[in-house]
Symmetry: C2
Subunit: 150 residues, 2 copies
DNA sequence: TGCAAATAGTTATTATGTTAACTAATTTGT
DNA sequence: ACAAATTAGTTAACATAATAACTATTTGCA
């Protein structure tokens, strides 16, 4: 069959490992960049701040979907961001189970200060890769995701 | 230049996110598979058991390198595996700072019981992908890694 | 030989990942 | 209208991620 993976001695999950390793590397190096700038913020906190910067007032459920994180994780990270005065929780008047999460001015400033750092980081990480490469990468990773979600 | 990433409005790190999301999905689904079989073992514990199955007696430093995890993480996971009697720590006679980690029979049995589950999981995840796809995936992810480690 | 530097591993701290169990509010079906 | 099911969010418990600070060894080198 055409889908066999290397040879029989390939007992180790080389490709899954490669994907996880790369994801870790990206996160680690991005974390380093954030530290270097003295941002004093974690990668996951950044991700949520950035989502709110793109669309302010998301509720926690929507943030969970968009960031691919679980609800308890969102609760905790929002707690941290609230303590540091980057966001506030606003009770939703239509549905009192919901909180709309709003960036404060301080939160918005933080995102805007870090945007150049982020852009630079990406430029470094993706350098030398072509449009074609991105398309292929996307196709393969989405195939794996779809295989698993069956 | 040939390396630009889509358009200017692509402020979000779509590809980095895609890689991380896929890595998470793989881990999550593998975790589900392990639970379904009643294995009562985490993915990270499996990874270390499997490394030891491939080469018994590795020290913690070598395990850290091979699994891409940090030393404190290895300490804790080995502690868990020890409590569950899957491994033992043997003092290295050449270098008394080192422990050689050895699979017990119980640990070896655990790995062998789970190997078919793991193989099945991989078959599902990678189905429909060609040798060519794997090569491309590998090239791209290694390019990103190498870009970051510069 | 002797002492500084490097190495293997642990402990502690803070943050996130994952699941289960829970509260409170809303929606659905009849 | 109302009980049952669903949904948004929290709390708790346990495991991993990352870094710093530490102990105990071993190695490098003047």
């Amino acid at each position: 069959m055409s889908t066999k993976i290397k040879t029989a001695e390939d007992q180790d999950n080389a490709y899954g490992f490669l994907i996880e390793r790369t994801a870790k590397l990206i996160k680690q190096h991005f974390h380093q960049q954030l530290r270097k700038t003295g941002a004093d913020i974690t990668v996951d906190q950044w991700v949520i701040l950035h989502e709110l910067y793109k669309e302010n007032g998301l509720n926690q459920y929507e943030i969970a979907i968009r960031t691919f994180k679980h609800p308890p994780t969102i609760t905790r990270i929002i707690d941290h961001l609230y303590k540091r005065k980057f966001v506030v929780r606003e009770m939703d008047t239509q549905d009192r189970r919901r909180f709309n999460i709003l960036l404060t001015q301080q939160g918005r400033d933080k995102v805007e200060n870090l945007l150049p750092v982020v852009m630079n980081f990406r430029k470094q990480g993706w350098s030398g890769l072509t449009e074609e490469d991105f398309k292929t990468l996307q196709r393969i990773l989405e195939a794996v995701s779809s295989n698993l979600q069956r």
